[in-house]
């Protein structure tokens, strides 16, 4: 991985004729992503893990020798000698030989069925062995050991982890953290044996049959995987007389130079200031330092890494950063252990409690980035360190609000922009989201932080008393809520009429779709009417979801997730006919990817003929009402959750809203439909349903809150009509129900008074508004296909019927995918 990183950077930055490069790879393939090796047992193929393509190397002019091992480095003659006896000359040599698994010298280590976990070939051997084994043991409870244990578990084996130290992950977590981690891993059905020294591997004929421990215990098994640490592959360097570190590894300086200034070493084979790093991130930084030195422009160099790391092992977050073990004198710690949530958090603070210096997080490391940056910045904490312990527990709205974040919190992970940078930009006059994007780059990567960025800007503007701050955009001096009222009260039916009377300019990508959504919520006219078409985001304009290559995905409605065998077959037939990639969504339906826009009408003609209708996956609208199977089949179910989910989905389908809306119905308290993670959720009781509202998954998950209990289906629908319409009327643009509730003065109590007690006297009006939406529902694809004139808008080109030539496909795992993105430098983990 580090070698590939080095070569990719060299190809990008060095003139093509500067170096003649020969690459030797001992394994039968080019570099691959070892960090995600275990994903090979979760459906990935070696091709998925490949980091470099032979074509890319050749295009860079590299002479690549795959499967060819170097057996000698001759520093006198300035050549390397291959296993085949060939001598290849060099002026500069870069060693990126990595490491090999360490297998302790215990009796029986050479028995059949004793394996290691390092390469793709190792994993293939593990898979082959596992097919005839029942019980697998991993020796070593560190990072790779737990990865290996997860792999064995995925292969269906009874799995045990044996660790010599008193706790798992002893380099990353302390005793208390290790206990929580052990419990979480045991809950997955994996046996954990800590403080166990393996004395001998017992034989069962030629094969391994068990472990004998020094304390006399025995653990029967029929396969063993060693993952007891790594040793640097420094044998070539040793034989060549290069200086070797105290714990192995080729000694390098801050620029990756070994004791021979023309020889560099990077990654796990190197020893830097007495340390060998087994993580990829420090290796990448060594590669960068060595490249600069090689090019004759050495930078500051690699000054070491502190081992701060965040991992997800077997689904459990494990992170440590800074002075995690409170090694520095005079520091103090605060900690929290929750056995109910399986969470452990310890923070190490300076003696005066004013600064964060390190920490250990197990079970929930969602705020790792924020804590790490707090520690690295050495900034003064704004409150008690105890307050930081609870942050991930999600205590109340304020804990999630932008005002509660420290200035060091990373808001945009793509460009590493902190809250402080956004606040500073706002102070310097960037008073719109687009201005902040331009001067900080925040929000210009994946875009997932744009809402949060806007909230931070608004808090800052409000704090300064700057008004007006709730304007939708530069074209309207009104909030979305105000525009909604203007549309209703003044009866505006088009964007042009609204902007002429209440705004200025031509509109933009913010106000046009927002107004289109308001018009749809109030009047429910066909979204592709001539006047409305230019307002729509591309998804609404083509009634499908644009993907990164400009093609679309198609999601027919499958109300409540209930689908007939005939419909499933029809979906498969359509997907095959139009060469679409298929994937099951989280909302219990099927997504068909890769349709060109000119194919959409034909695809929908076929889908409608098979009895499907639009699923509105493209709209800020009701998406799905997920259900468990309920009392119709389930032994535990107490109500017909599927029936109610179908009824709700069919009632609210097509409802345009400020953001997408999802629902769920669970047939009993086991909550298999995850209704509490939805904008609205119903959970069956013996006496009816409990109604929860304002939850969501996604980037900032929120648990739904109880609105009313023991409702009949009709009562639930009445309250939902009121709740949804109240949300549609009053929420801000792209504000989901949870955020809307956070901002609602009086919160849940107030919402309950409006919806249940009708404290505003608008319940009848809200119900009538909803009734009109329900009555005027039409499948947007059916309407579109009825008018041939509308189909012209789906052609790829206004002057040609040629299919879009930029769309190309590759086959992966038996399906068609877009070509991979151009290589991006992979981050560690």
């Amino acid at each position: 991985m580090v070698g590939h990183q080095f070569l990719a950077a060299l190809a990008e930055r060095s003139p093509a004729d500067r170096w003649t490069v020969t690459v030797f790879a001992e394994e039968p393939r080019l570099a691959y992503d070892r960090v995600h090796l275990s994903s090979l047992f979760a459906g990935k193929t070696p091709a998925d893990l490949a980091m470099g393509q032979i074509e890319e190397y050749r295009a860079a002019g590299y002479d690549v020798r795959v499967g060819e091992r170097v057996v000698q480095v001759d520093r006198e003659a300035r050549v390397v000698v291959t296993a085949g006896g060939e001598s290849v000359p060099w002026d500069r040599l870069v060693l990126a030989t990595g490491s090999s698994p360490f297998v302790p010298n215990v009796p029986g280590k050479d028995l059949e069925g004793v394996l290691v976990y390092r390469t793709i070939e190792d994993l293939e051997a593990i898979r082959a062995r596992a097919s005839e084994a029942q019980v697998g043991v991993v020796i070593g409870g560190g990072l790779l050991g737990l990865e290996a244990a997860g792999a064995l578990r995925n292969l269906g084996l009874e799995t045990h982890v044996v660790e010599l130290a008193q706790r798992l992950m002893c380099l990353q977590v302390d005793d208390a953290g290790g206990r929580v981690l052990s419990r979480r891993i045991q809950e997955l059905g994996i046996g954990v044996h800590t403080g166990k020294q393996t004395r001998e591997l017992l034989a069962d004929g030629p094969r391994v049959g068990g472990l004998a421990f020094a304390d006399g215990g025995v653990l029967p098994c029929d396969m063993v995987v060693f993952s007891a640490g790594i040793r640097p592959r420094d044998e070539l360097a040793r034989a060549a007389g290069l200086e070797i570190g105290p714990r192995g590894g080729v000694v390098i300086d801050d620029h990756g130079r070994t004791s021979d200034p023309d020889v560099f070493a990077i990654g796990e084979c190197a020893s830097h200031r007495g340390r060998v790093y087994g993580l990829v991130a420090p290796g990448y930084r060594m590669a960068e330092a060595a490249l600069l030195a090689l090019e004759g422009a050495p930078g500051a160099g690699f000054a070491g890494a502190d081992g701060s790391t965040k991992l997800k092992l077997l689904g459990v977050d494990v992170a440590s950063f800074g002075d995690a073990f409170a090694d520095e004198g005079g520091v103090r710690t605060v900690s929290l252990t929750s056995d109910t949530r399986g969470v452990y958090r310890k923070l190490v603070v300076s003696a005066d409690g004013a600064r964060l210096v390190g920490g250990v997080l197990v079970g929930d490391a969602s705020d790792y980035d924020t804590l790490l940056s707090l520690a690295r910045s050495r900034a003064a904490l704004s409150g008690d360190p105890e307050a930081l312990l609870g942050r991930a527990a999600g205590t109340g709205a304020a804990a999630h609000g932008p005002a509660a974040l420290p200035d060091e919190a990373i808001i945009c992970s793509c460009h590493n922009v902190t809250k402080g940078a956004i606040v500073a930009a706002t102070r310097d006059g960037a008073e719109t989201v687009s201005a902040i994007k331009k001067c900080t780059k925040a929000g210009t990567g994946c875009g997932s932080c744009v809402t949060q960025m806007g909230e931070i800007m608004l808090v800052e503007l409000r704090a300064r008393g700057a008004a007006p701050v709730n304007h939708l955009c530069e074209h309207f001096p009104h909030s979305r809520q105000e525009l909604f009222h203007l549309v209703r009260v003044r009866g505006h039916k088009s964007f042009d009429a609204l902007i002429a009377e209440h705004g200025r300019g031509a509109g933009c990508e913010i106000c046009k779709p927002a107004v289109a959504s308001i018009l749809a919520s109030v009047w429910n006219e066909y979204v592709l009417e001539k006047a409305h078409l230019p307002l729509q985001d591309t998804n609404d304009r083509f009634l499908a979801n644009m993907q990164r290559d400009g093609t679309y995905s198609v999601v027919p409605r499958v109300a409540g997730g209930e689908i007939t065998p005939r419909q499933l077959i029809a979906l498969g037939e359509v997907a095959e006919r139009y060469h679409l990639y298929t994937k099951i969504t989280g909302g219990q339906r099927v997504d068909l990817f890769g349709a060109r826009r000119d194919e959409l009408p034909a695809i929908w003609r076929d889908l409608i003929a098979a009895g499907f209708e639009s699923g509105h996956a493209y709209g800020k609208a009701l998406r799905t009402v997920k259900s468990c199977v309920g009392s119709t089949w389930c032994r535990y179910g107490v109500q017909d959750s599927v029936g109610l989910a179908i009824r709700l989905e069919n009632r609210y389908k097509g409802l345009r809203a400020p953001h997408k809306i999802k629902g769920g119905v669970s047939g009993c308290a086991r909550e298999c439909a995850e209704a509490q993670g939805k904008d609205f959720g119903l959970i069956a009781t013996d006496r009816g349903y409990n109604l929860y509202v304002c939850g969501n998954g996604g980037m900032r998950p929120a648990h739904a809150k109880l609105l009313a209990q023991d409702l009949t289906e009709d009562q639930a629908i009445q309250y939902l009509d009121r709740f949804l319409m109240f949300y549609v009327r009053t929420a801000g643009r792209l504000e989901r129900t949870a955020t809307w509730l956070d901002k609602l003065d009086g919160g849940m109590d107030y919402l309950r008074r409006v919806v249940v007690d009708d404290s505003l006297g608008i319940a009848a009006e809200l119900e009538a508004d909803m009734a009109r939406i329900v009555e005027t529902y039409r499948c947007e694809w059916r309407v579109t296909l009825e008018d041939p004139a509308r189909l012209a808008g789906f052609r790829s080109f206004v002057n040609s019927d040629t299919p879009d030539p930029s769309v190309t496909r590759v086959t992966v795992r038996g399906q068609l995918l877009p070509e991979p993105r151009p290589a991006r430098n992979a981050e560690a983990q």
Binding site: S434, K437, K438, K441, T444, G445, C446, G447, E474, H475, G505, A506, G507, C508, E509, C511, K512, P513, K530, L533, P534, L535, Q536, D537, T538, N539, R541, F542, M546, R548, D549, G550, R597, A792, G793, S796, F797, V798, N799, S800, T802, D804, P805, S806, T808, R821, P822
Partner: protein, 118 residues
């Protein structure tokens, strides 16, 4: 259908909805045509250089600070319809082509940039 030298007749003016865009294929190259007002048409390369796909013609057309622009449907970067400059990143721009309106016909200059998969 070719008009004056160097220009290609691509469509009728009403083929482009006011306030929106369409895409034309000219010499195998994708050209996005935008009609911010009834009487104006602008041509840009259809490829969003940031997202790397041929999609700009499907963006929302409007203005930023009075400058006519299109917002890419991929990650919403705005591009000036007159200059092709990205309004969110000074280092990025898309090529433009001259447009002539002749009666109700729209003619576009042959693109001077290479198509991605032409």
């Amino acid at each position: 259908m070719t008009g004056s030298p160097g220009f290609v007749d691509v469509c009728a003016l009403p083929d482009i909805p006011v306030g929106a865009g369409v895409c034309a294929l000219v010499d195998g190259v994708q050209v996005a045509l935008f009609r911010p007002t009834a009487s104006e048409v602008f041509a840009l390369a259809n490829r969003d250089p940031i997202g790397g796909a041929e999609v700009l013609s499907r963006g929302i057309v409007g203005d930023r600070g009075g400058r006519a622009m299109v917002a890419s449907p991929l990650l919403k970067h705005a591009f000036c319809l007159r200059t092709g400059r990205c309004l969110d990143d000074d280092n990025v721009a898309v090529p433009t082509a001259t447009v002539r309106i002749d009666g109700d016909r729209v003619l576009v200059e042959r693109p001077q940039w290479a198509g991605a998969n032409a």
